[in-house]
């Protein structure tokens, strides 16, 4: 078991009413899973992903990640946990505009305090693997959307996480680029055993996963 979420509630107060964003979420994810979270806009998909990624907190419930009770950890400890085990991929890539491809991929290693030679080797691996060696000195604005997302995935993978969280990773891409990215995820999951959780609107993309979780109004309606 990689992580377990138990009785998690998250709400905001709006005009005296409590509006639930996450409503009694119960979820267990094992290592090697490839999970797709689906649901209409506003159903809480991204929030759930952020909670799993420890970027967002919740009001009630328990969250255990690799036997660590996340909900009781201090920010610093939590940050150490997710920078060790979790990689993020975003719909709009979120590359740092001022950094080159190489430097973007290198950034997570900086925060994990890898030595310079280690960083060099690891980044070179990634560049190789995604066939973007020739682009390493370009800035994000000089790349196509698909290429930027490849860099995004490379950056998420460089620190060898156990879990990749992808928030509509193909949302800004055309279908050909989208398929390519999904193939990359599939390979990662099947060949390297990386656990993947993706949020998606597309049935086609969801089909890459081994399990589909459907959300509606913050509630899991099917798992």
């Amino acid at each position: 078991m990689l992580l377990q979420i138990k009785d998690v509630f998250k709400w905001v107060n709006s005009g005296g009413n409590r509006v639930f964003i996450l409503n009694d979420i119960e979820l267990t994810i094992n290592e090697g899973d490839f999970i797709s979270i689906m649901g209409p806009s506003g159903s809480g998909k991204t929030t759930l992903l952020n909670v799993i990624g420890m970027l967002d907190d919740f009001n009630e419930g328990e969250y255990t990640f690799l036997d660590e009770p996340v909900h009781t950890l201090k920010e610093k400890h939590r940050a150490n946990l997710y920078k060790e085990y979790i990689g993020f991929v975003f719909q709009s890539y979120h590359l740092i505009d001022e950094l080159t491809v190489y430097e973007n991929i290198e950034t997570p290693l900086l925060y994990k305090k890898h030595s310079r030679s280690e960083r060099k080797a690891l980044v070179a691996d990634m560049l190789d693997r995604f066939n973007i060696v020739g682009k390493k000195d370009l800035f994000p604005s000089q790349l196509s959307g698909g290429q930027q997302q490849l860099v995004g995935i490379a950056r998420a993978l460089v620190a060898s996480p156990k879990l990749i969280l992808a928030d509509e990773p193909t949302g800004n891409l055309n279908s050909k680029q989208g398929t390519e990215i999904m193939e990359v995820f599939k390979t990662l999951n099947e060949e390297e055993g990386v656990t993947i959780i993706q949020v998606t609107h597309s049935e086609q993309n969801a089909a890459y996963g081994s399990r589909i979780i459907n959300l509606l109004d913050g509630r899991i309606i099917s798992n």
Binding site: L55, A79, K83, H94, I96, R155
Partner: protein, 791 residues
Amino acid sequence: MIRNYFKIAFRLFKKEKRTTLVNIFGMALGISCSILIYLWVQDELRYNDFVKKGDRVCYAMTNHPMMGGDIKTWSTTPQPLKAVLEEKYPVIDKVALLSWEPPTNFKKDDGFLQQNGNYASPEIFDIFQFPFTKGNHKALYNEPKTIVISERFANRYFGENWNTIDVIGELITTDNKDTYKLVGVFKDLPKHSTLQFDFIIPFAEKLNKNPWLNHWGNFQNQMYIQIVDGITVEEANNRIKNAIIDNRPDEGTTEELFLQPFSDTYLYSNFEGGKVAGGRIEYVRILSVAAILILLLASINFMNLSTARAGKRSKETGVRKVLGALKSNLRVQFLIESVLITGFGFILSMGIVSVLLPEFNALTEKDIELTFFTPKFILFLLGFIFLLGLASGMYPAFYLSALKPTRSLKGVFSHNKNEAFFRKALMIFQFVITIVMIIGATSVYKQVSYIQNKNIGFDRENLVEVTMGDIDPAGNYQAYREELLKKPGILGVTPINQNILDVSNTTSDPEWDGKDFNEITSFTIMCTDPDFLSITGIKLKAGRNFNRSIATDTANFIINTAAQKVMRLKDPIGERLGFWDREGKIIGVIEDVHINSLHVPIEPFIIRYDLPMTYKMLVRIEANKTTQALTSLKALHDKFNPGKTFNYSFVSDMYRGQYKSELLVKDMVFYFAIVAILISCLGLLSLIAYTTSQRAKEMSIRKVLGASITTILRLLSKEFLLLIILSMVIAVPIAYYFIDGWLQNFAYRITLNWLLFIIASVVTIVIASFIIGIQVLKAANANPIKSLKTE
């Protein structure tokens, strides 16, 4: 990691050239000002610091209670006090008397060499430990006809090779044909010393020539004192306070003695009610505060711009957090950026300071050299940059690093109300400082020009003060006068014994019918001749002038209205008045004339027709014939004082010199106000640029919906103008408080006019509106399609 921070900082600077340049330039201006002020303050603080506090060297002052409860503090002491202190007061270790002397002429070859020096007790060298290069000062104790000179003096007197010849034992003659044996050559006194002399002759010699100095009533000498080890100045003061009262043989003396540490004498030279009441230290403080405020302005610019830019940086912050950056990592990154900006500002300011330093030296009449590469200065600067960078970056760093990644990643960088408020508060703070400085500069300017243009009761233009030298006021002065009056460009001459702008000779001796002997009333005295009134242009209010043909007039007096008031005489003409062995009548009353600085009220003043007391002259010259008149004066001086230096000074220059500090402050405050405006406006400029770019979409929608350019202009400017008006409202009372305080230093001052505040405020608003207008107009004129498309 650090390398990465630097890299991203530089790329960011390149991308946002304008903001970066504004930041750097603002910082550079602020730092330049502070460095200049720092150098000036250091120079001021260096005065007399060659004597450390622990050296227990003090200067003796006397407090003189006056009529009406006022206490006047004099920097003089009577001669017999020295022996009394040495014998009866064990807290006193050494005492040295020092005379006040005009420049002295020494016979050299066929001519004379003019040097400044004093008669002094030889203890002066024991107290200050001025080192000797040749000989020593021991002989000064026993032989009155000895002299010690400075290296500078030796150089001028014996030539450059004085060191190689045996000068000790040489005889040196002053113009009065007194000959002294040279017993020592001492090193030139430190430049930053208020005590300056190039020769010392034993004080005993002065006493031999002026036995009247032995009198307790003559407060005529400077006195330097070393107190014993392990005693504080306060303790010593308690012990010696009544040294004059207890030992002066005549009754009714009330003068109290006190010591001021020598290291304080330069900066704390004003006394009120017998206590230290500031002095140059006030200007040191004012300018230090100005320096800090200007730095603050520059760092506020930085804070404002960084937080305004937070919208653009928020995505990066969010991504970094997701990638594992801790708050502390992000803080370090932002602090590095601000330290870098400060560093660049500093490099630029080095250039600015190097270029401005000569001008600054001319302005402040200092001789500051820029020693960039002393370890102390470099260390100071590095620390300074680091601290300034931290101070400026602290708020943005904490603010940015605390943004929640989930929100900042969504790109919906919502404008936090607190943050907007904070930025507005900073801007108001900035403009408050600026407006206070503008009002300050204008008021100081007005007061100083008031001083410069004030009718002080006599015409100070075309008036020259000349020393008499060998001319005997009671002898060949008449011959000199007759000859001078025939020369071209000369309108008249009168002998005097006081600086007409600051008559400092005070006495409480005058007696008149009806004087209350329980009160001490002090008068300032001018000894002169009948031409005094016509030369100066002082007008008689009642009575008549002295008359050469009335022999008894030398015992008669002319007084001023202030004197009439303290003497409580309704009709003073013909009243009996007497002092200093002369008794006669009051024959005239003059208008109140400023015979003292405008810092103090006009004092009671008596004019005596007393030639023998005079030693210098006032010469009225013809306007536009200055050169001719000076040539005439020099020719005649050379005839009566062959071989001696011709010294003269224009009374108008002396008048300006009297207000040197005020003139300096006027200039400095003026320049700093300009810098303050510049820095604040730079900040305003970029802040507006950011705000308009942030609201570009809103403006575009408004335009599409039919808003005119004027509506948009009004909409965007309103907020900023309101902030500036608010700053004004806050600034005016603050400015009033400080300026009113400063003006209290002057007995004669401008009245603070509301118009002044309004003008300063209007100037600020006009400048600010101009900046706002240009920026906003640019935004309002932009094509709406552009900004809508980017969304």
